[in-house]
Symmetry: C2
Subunit: 375 residues, 2 copies
Amino acid sequence: MGSTRVLGLGKAFHSHSSLCNGTRVFRRNPTVVLRAFASTLSPPSQAVVYEQHGPPDQVTRIIDLPPVELKEKDVCVKMRAAPINPSDINRIEGVYPVRPPVPAIGGYEGVGEIQAVGSAVKDFSLGDWVIPSPPSFGTWQTYIVKEESVWHKINKNVPMEYAATVTVNPLTALRMLEDFVQLNPGDAIVQNGATSIVGQCIIQLARIRGIHSINIIRDRVGSEEVKEKLKKLGADAVYTESQLEVKNVKGLLGDLPEPALGFNCVGGNPASFVLKFLRQGGTMVTYGGMAKKPVTVSTSSFIFKDLALRGFWLQKWMSSERARECRVMIDYLLGLVCDGKFKYELELVPFHDFSVALDKALGKLGSQPKQVLKF
Amino acid sequence: MGSTRVLGLGKAFHSHSSLCNGTRVFRRNPTVVLRAFASTLSPPSQAVVYEQHGPPDQVTRIIDLPPVELKEKDVCVKMRAAPINPSDINRIEGVYPVRPPVPAIGGYEGVGEIQAVGSAVKDFSLGDWVIPSPPSFGTWQTYIVKEESVWHKINKNVPMEYAATVTVNPLTALRMLEDFVQLNPGDAIVQNGATSIVGQCIIQLARIRGIHSINIIRDRVGSEEVKEKLKKLGADAVYTESQLEVKNVKGLLGDLPEPALGFNCVGGNPASFVLKFLRQGGTMVTYGGMAKKPVTVSTSSFIFKDLALRGFWLQKWMSSERARECRVMIDYLLGLVCDGKFKYELELVPFHDFSVALDKALGKLGSQPKQVLKF
């Protein structure tokens, strides 16, 4: 994925004096030796790092990193925003199957602005907004230097919090709607965890395609308000789990068709509800396990109902030479955002409040919108 | 599925005087009224019937049925053999999703000999061996009258117990090896319930294709002998469930490749063992649930291991205009039997000992070979 900042924690460089800038003309720089070899240097950066795996609120800290040299095909990006996704937390915990070696900088997606470019870079101008696509590790830092091929230029009119979060959750929703079952307008899908960002995206992307969505949410205080919110996004039906404790779940469908495709990001009983709604020959795709409980399926669901159970992992999907395809999808999704057809709940938090954002992302402060660091 | 004997339990006809024969010339027949309308009549038949669903040993009985008239395209088949399959038991219990309305005659597959043919039947000769293909309800009777299209003529050199049982279990094994994952010589499959007939068929059909099989059996007295038996059929590896209670199941594979395809006919823990053996992106097909326990799957198996879980139901597969394809497969499988390349354990039991055979099939007498009624 091109060259990247090498973490030298022992040699952390605290001077902010050598900032790169748009004209590639350096200000007076006391680091003469460095300058002799480097036509362009990044500014020093601040980053959330962890030197070992463990509870994210214990093993992460913000440190200063020294400037790095831009090679001729590198660009230096001043990060604008980057979210705290559940997978980021799992990487820090050391429980995610693909993760950078420690010590590592946190984060996986985000958006930034071109701050400087190497001498051979032609396709980017200073001030361009870019996102790493496919995403790559280490977006929780103020400046990133990586090869130009890593970056995808986007429309600057997009709100930065959407640009920062478009790659992981919305792309997951889009691919899951496209890759498993051929859906036609008038068909239906069913999902649990419908209030998650992916869930909100599925509702809206389904609606744009004329596909009905049946949504399952947790029982909680204020569930009626949640139902109304999801219906405003385009949900056809929203049920709390307790509403589905009935003998014939399909009796609730009314005029809606039996769904051919279901999405599970919870596990346990809420996964069984998805299976119950599915039509003969339907498919359930698991992409998360928020309840930390397995999926349990009866023998007859497989044999007589002919259900298929699959999984989806965006990181694996993206790793297979699909860079161009990803970028087309990102442009499509950000276009929907600009047109006001695609939205979800986020909270922008200043980078220096990282520990508060992390606590919220860890669920320590109850149900919270996705936290997006603003640099 | 053509015309069929109509069950008139209230009018059971006990005379054996009007036997059809090969020359279509009738012996003296006292039933003058019947003879006036019927150019050919079947013999009266004896059949295992049930008038209501329930425990098979309580609701079934053998009764006499009156002769029926052969229409011009009908054939009368003197049944030779028919097995008691688990699905037959489930149909009698009323728990199988597709079953004949009661009162009904038991049985679903079998083999018989042409006893008489209707006036327009060209493709069968008296004495031909035939099996109903696709199979159809009501094979547990001594004479069956159905339209010629129902019957498939087979090689008379096949042992009758194989002809009687080829349609349900061996065809299931063959289709499951063909329909889910593209296997190449050198690949491997894994299965539980390996001592079942389907299990034995899978071992042999895999071996013929150069595919390795990893087999899981129950812990039981004599499991070493069972292992040897399965290895003689071609099994590459056989493990009892307790042998798989290890941290790294794949460490047992040795030189065998990780299997791409698994078969589950048990559920519960033995299904989890199949999942553990599967390679990244592998598929498990469920076709039975002998343990009456569901299949439990971790979230990470779906997301990170990319496992797919499917089901297979032969009866549904066959119902889709696949008569010709079925018959080609039956001929292939019976050819393997004749060549000595395909065998499995069966026990032939005289029809008049039906209640003993049923008790064995119900598991009342411990582990027993599949019971095949001999008429």
